[in-house]
Amino acid sequence: MKLVIAIIKPFKLDDVREALSEIGVQGVTVTEVKGFGRQKGHTELYRGAEYVVDFLPKVKIEVAIDDGLLDQAIDAIAKAANTGKIGDGKIFVLPLEQAVRIRTGETGPEAL
């Protein structure tokens, strides 16, 4: 099993959710985060004074994936989240040692 972490642009969330749904992924966890990579922040203006905002709002999606579905999941996320413009985000893959469904006690891939 793998834990896929994707940082994407907030307005792409619905597209990514749908894309994951289409390949059979049933659950995701979403967090509002702020961050930057090579996409620079922007300057804002407040009462005549400029200030720099380095961080940009992003959305972090975490989804536990069965090994067999991994490539499809990465592909789905990358396609759905892509705008072609800088700041589209990144996908990270971590090995996932164990997963448990709390309600039933199922473990391993059955818990996903």
Binding site: K34, G41, E44, Y51, V53, L56, P57, K85
Partner: protein, 426 residues
């Protein structure tokens, strides 16, 4: 006797000023209502629009709007164009006091400046109706440019035709006490024209007819805004009686206040019940729109109905507004705050409801009035929006719409602390 006349003039002038101040407070109501129903990333921009349009309305009305709407002379269709108000002046006390007391109220019985003040806050109200419907995707300066034309010309012309003594009043006996038509229908029609040329927000409507809700960021603000509007409406309708300084008129004003309140209450309850029956949940935003719909509905005739009838008129408004909001979405007319439904659809109901309690009104008169206001405003607004669209565009870019118009138009955010500022520790 002179003391009494002095007092009457002072009291009625004071009345106009205080009622006008209450209507001015409605600007805060609109600002809070709209700020509460848009997303956080678009909040600063809509607040900017609301404050700026009020200021622009005051200036344009002073420069030309007031004189167009209340000319000394006119043919009934075309007012005499004079631009004298901006140079000031008011009634001479000696001349006022020299009037025959027996026909006092047919003469000059209150300050001219107070008259302007009471009227200018009405044009600002009409203009602010537009800002909610075009929220979250219109360029700020395109909107403000429209405001210049609307408050300086479009609104005053149709206002002249009814309140300024023009043909709707003189030839057709069109009744509109405080402006369900002149203010609310007019504003809603301008909004409709804008929305038709602007298009819906990105992501609002799906490719197979789906309607995606875009929830507002701050319902406490929306609620506060509604209550502020409710309070301000006592000035809107109450002041439109235009006199308070004798027993009959004082009673009339009191009746107007009561009916205004009852209609709001009726509208609120009706909308709440309809929404609960239709959707299975008690939608706060429908309750808020319902109260406002009740207020719009009674605005054409808040004096003559009994309190019971006023409540019922409000209730019908509340029922209509829920169905209208749902229907407009089905027609893919995206109105983030329900302005076209509350002020337009229910405005028309208000104009027709006059027939229920005002024997001076005729169906023909109300119909001609409704169609005239709607037709004039729609055509002139479409032309104006169309010209603005050709010159500078109406809509922000797709990228700007995603980032939020706060950043694109105002360069700042209403709620900046999530992403923070460098060095500020956030």
């Amino acid at each position: 006797m002179e003391d009494i006349l002095n007092l009457r003039y002072a009291l009625d002038t004071f009345y106009f000023l205080v009622m006008g101040a209450l209507v001015m407070w409605m600007a805060a109501g609109f600002a809070m209502l709209e700020a509460g129903l848009v997303r956080a990333k678009n909040t600063a921009e809509i607040l900017t629009k609301n404050v700026a349009l009020f200021a622009i309305a005051c200036i344009m009305y002073m420069l030309m709007g007031y004189n167009i709407m209340y000319p000394a002379d006119g043919s009934g269709v075309i007012p005499a164009f004079d631009f004298s108000f901006m140079f000031g002046g008011d009634h001479d006390p000696a001349e006022v006091l020299a009037q025959d007391p027996a026909s006092w109220y047919d003469g000059t019985y209150y300050s001219g400046m107070a008259d302007f003040f009471f009227q200018v806050v009405f044009v600002a109200t009409a203009m602010s109706i537009v800002s909610g419907a075009v929220a979250e995707r219109m360029k700020l300066w395109s909107f403000l440019l429209f405001a210049v034309v609307m408050t300086g010309f479009i609104y005053p012309m149709q206002g002249y035709w009814k309140w300024g003594g023009g043909f709707l009043d003189a030839d057709f006996g069109f009744q509109d006490f405080a402006g369900s038509g002149v203010v609310h229908l007019c504003g809603a029609t301008a909004a409709l024209a804008g929305v038709l040329l602007l298009g819906p927000r990105k992501g609002k409507y799906g490719p197979h007819g789906e309607i995606h809700p875009i929830p507002g960021a701050n319902l406490p603000l929306a609620t506060l805004g509604t209550f502020i509007l409710w309070l301000g409406w006592f000035g809107f309708n109450g002041g439109s009686e235009l006199v308070v300084s004798n027993v009959a008129e004082a009673n009339a004003v009191a009746a107007v206040f009561v009916n205004t309140n009852m209609a709001a209450a009726g509208g609120a309850v009706a909308a709440m019940v309809v929404a609960r029956l239709l959707f299975g949940k008690t939608d706060l935003t429908m309750l808020l729109n319902g109260a406002l719909a009740g207020l719009v509905a009674i605005t054409a005739e808040p004096l003559n109905p009994t309190p019971l009838l006023a409540t019922i008129v409000g209730m019908v408004g509340g029922i209509l507004v829920v169905f209208s909001i749902v229907t407009l979405d089905k027609l893919k007319i995206d109105d983030p705050v329900g302005a076209i439904s509350v002020h337009g659809v229910v405005g028309i109901w208000g104009l027709m409801a006059v027939l229920l309690s005002n024997s001076d009104a005729t169906f023909k008169g109300q119909l001609v009035g409704t169609l005239t206001i709607f037709g004039w405003t729609l055509v002139m607004s479409l032309i104006t929006w169309g010209i603005i669209k050709a010159i500078m565009g109406l809509r922000v870019s797709e990228e700007e719409e995603f980032e939020g118009v706060d950043l694109a138009e105002c360069g700042l955010e209403a709620y900046p602390e999530f992403t923070g500022a460098k060095g500020s520790g956030l």
